[in-house]
């Protein structure tokens, strides 16, 4: 506490002493320190961009951007190398789509139940379970998808071949369970922000609970719900361990969820494990695919942040 002024002077003096008698360098120093700390998070973003751009630029010096974004063959570490990123993108989108088919209905159902139906005691039971679901490490989800879910699906599959050992279906399903808490808790926040006046008005007009939930609360909370889903998509696209373990390591331009396919994140992880030397084209692909991933998730995160702000402005 370097800045503690003496209190006595203020008490004894003329009105002039009510003004600050000495500059408080300590207060200034503290403020400088705080600003410096908050710059770390800004520098993190700058660092990510600086880390991504130079190697990605070198990569696009050798591979044309058009070939990269429209090519259908991804084999950067083989000879002859091909750098068409589409198989990774479709792999990512397939797994994300399956995850959303699981997470959106279940997450929204859970949110509506917790916000509109559940009594406090029921809420107090379910909320922590959702938090636990969100806190389980993703390697554990991947392990479960590969070792438990895929064999189960292979056993019960009615007719045909059934899923391969590595497949998009198990990985996507487990990923969907993983993002339920994200979607449920953010959309529940949005529904809780809807004023009770709206509910009371609808009940007074004779609406049932279901009508209030689906025709009043849900539309009123829509921007927050969309924000939650967009954030869920962003998390699904960026998730690495589940797909690296359970969806396989083979780039595969296919829309069959029973096949294995590599996602963008799984490729980055696989290439990273390889410990490639700096400056090689293989090393640079990590950053090229990473840039694409970063831009995709950045756009979605910003859309989501925007939408959350909008409903906060309307109701709070």
């Amino acid at each position: 506490m370097t800045s503690t002024g003496s209190g006595r002077r203020v008490a004894s003096g003329s009105p002039g002493f009510l003004k600050r008698s000495q500059p408080r360098y300590g207060e200034k120093a503290v403020k400088v320190l705080l600003v410096a700390a908050s710059l770390v998070s800004v520098l993190t973003t700058v660092g990510i961009v600086i880390a991504l751009i130079p190697p990605a630029a070198e990569f696009f010096g050798e591979v044309s951007f058009g070939d990269f974004i429209t090519g259908t063959d991804w084999s950067p570490l083989f000879k002859p190398a091909h750098f068409g990123v589409l198989p990774l993108v479709t792999g990512t989108l397939m797994v994300t789509l399956i995850a959303l088919l699981v997470a959106v209905p279940l997450g929204l159902g859970a949110a509506v139940y917790l916000s509109e139906y559940a009594r406090p005691r029921v809420r107090a039971f379910f909320k922590p379970i959702l938090e636990v679901l969100a806190g389980i490490p993703t390697v554990v989800y991947g392990f479960f998808a590969l070792q438990a879910l895929t064999p189960l699906l292979q056993d019960i599959w009615p007719g045909g071949e059934g899923p391969q050992v590595f497949n998009a279906l198990s990985a996507g399903f487990v990923m969907g369970i993983m993002i339920i808490p994200t979607i449920a808790s953010l959309s529940e926040d949005a529904m809780n922000a809807v004023p009770n006046d709206l509910r009371d008005g609808a009940f007074a007009l004779g609406s049932s609970r279901m009508q209030v939930a689906t025709r009043v609360v849900f539309p009123a909370a829509l921007s927050g719900i969309v924000a939650a889903i967009v954030l869920g998509v962003s998390r699904a696209i960026g998730e690495t361990m589940i797909v690296a373990i359970a969806a396989g390591g083979r780039p595969n331009l296919s829309f069959d969820p029973l096949e294995g396919m590599q996602t963008m994140t799984a490729f980055i992880a696989a290439a990273g494990i390889g410990d490639l030397p700096t400056g090689t084209i293989g090393y640079q692909t990590i950053f090229a695919v990473g840039s694409l991933l970063f831009v995709m998730t950045l756009v979605m995160n910003l859309v989501s942040i925007r939408l959350v702000r909008r409903y906060r402005q309307v109701y709070e």
Binding site: L133, V139, M210, T240, I273
Partner: protein, 303 residues
């Protein structure tokens, strides 16, 4: 009230009066509520299946060898996770050392000093919200390109903990901000009215009241870092390590990476080994979460 209409029983009553009474919840309402309840139940059932499956798989390997022995690629029955457990402790210890002070100071700045009308403060805020949702593997790329190779820290505990601290920094900041915001404005005003400076108010009034909430949030953020594997895959965490770290310059492995390594092995003995390591990881996370909940309940203020 003994009115003649009601005395004759419902059948003979006036139809208009009867219609006002509820004729039971319609089946659509019940079905809707049931499907909502079921969507929550799916998550609960999944969690139950996951935990039971892992404990059953891990059962043959849940003995002290998993704690005391080092990874062994030739004989899985003698393999253990000691280097991974110690690696996790080292890495998370340094992560806490780096990210907690920075996170707390940022939270204090944003809550107590920053004017939210200024564009740069809003930019810092949006930046933090975005960073919280950036995929963890992108932090791995940052760690690989800048910290490991750019600054030349290599594949060490130091690189891993710096990367993880940047990864959980947004979570720490957001949690600490909520704890600081929960301290009522009247306490600040009372302190300032008594002549305390702004920092004296923060240091002697706001922070003591906010510390339990900040601690709870930090423990939860660090438990996220403990389970994180993706960024460390890029930082050499997958190399075969049969020794404990001896300092920040050491090579390392951590539990989630060791688990990933064992999952990737083709022999089936490694499955139960991976499951046993998962049990250890989950027990550590459970302990940390219990501590966080205990702190929250023990010290939480009701203003």
């Amino acid at each position: 009230m003994g009115s003649p209409v009601l005395d004759k029983g419902p059948e003979a009553g006036v139809p208009e009066v009867r219609r006002l009474k509820s004729d039971g919840t319609p089946w659509r309402e019940r079905l809707f509520q049931l499907s909502l309840w079921a969507s929550l139940a799916v998550g609960v059932v999944f969690l139950g299946c996951l935990l039971v499956y892992i404990v059953v798989e891990a059962w043959p390997r849940l003995n002290f060898r998993i704690l005391t022995n080092f990874p062994d690629i030739i004989d899985p029955s003698q393999a253990g996770a000691q280097s991974a457990i110690m690696g996790t402790i080292w890495v998370i210890g340094f992560t806490a050392l780096y990210c907690l002070p920075v996170g707390f100071l940022t939270a204090i700045y944003l809550e107590e000093y920053a004017d939210p009308e200024r564009w740069w403060n809003r930019a810092v805020e949006i930046n933090i919200q975005n960073l919280a949702a950036v995929p963890s593997i992108v932090y791995g790329i940052l760690g690989l390109g800048i910290i490991s190779r750019g600054l030349g820290f290599g594949q060490t505990v130091l690189t891993a903990s710096l990367t993880l601290s940047l990864l959980v920094l947004p979570t720490v900041i957001i949690a600490a901000r909520e704890a600081i915001r929960a301290v009522p404005q009247s306490i600040r005003e009372a302190s300032l009215a008594l002549g305390a400076t702004q920092w004296q108010t923060i240091w002697r009034q706001v922070l003591p009241a906010a510390v339990p909430g900040m601690a709870t949030g930090s423990i939860l953020a660090l438990s996220r870092a403990i389970g994180e594997a993706a960024p460390l895959l890029l930082l050499g965490g997958l190399t075969f390590i049969t020794f404990n770290p001896t300092g920040p310059e050491s090579a390392f492995t951590v539990l989630p990476i060791q688990i990933f390594n064992w999952i990737s092995q083709s022999r089936s003995e490694f499955v139960s080994l991976a499951a046993a390591a998962i049990v250890i990881l989950l027990v550590i996370l459970l302990a940390m979460n219990s501590l966080a909940i205990w702190l929250r309940n023990r010290y939480s203020h009701r203003w």
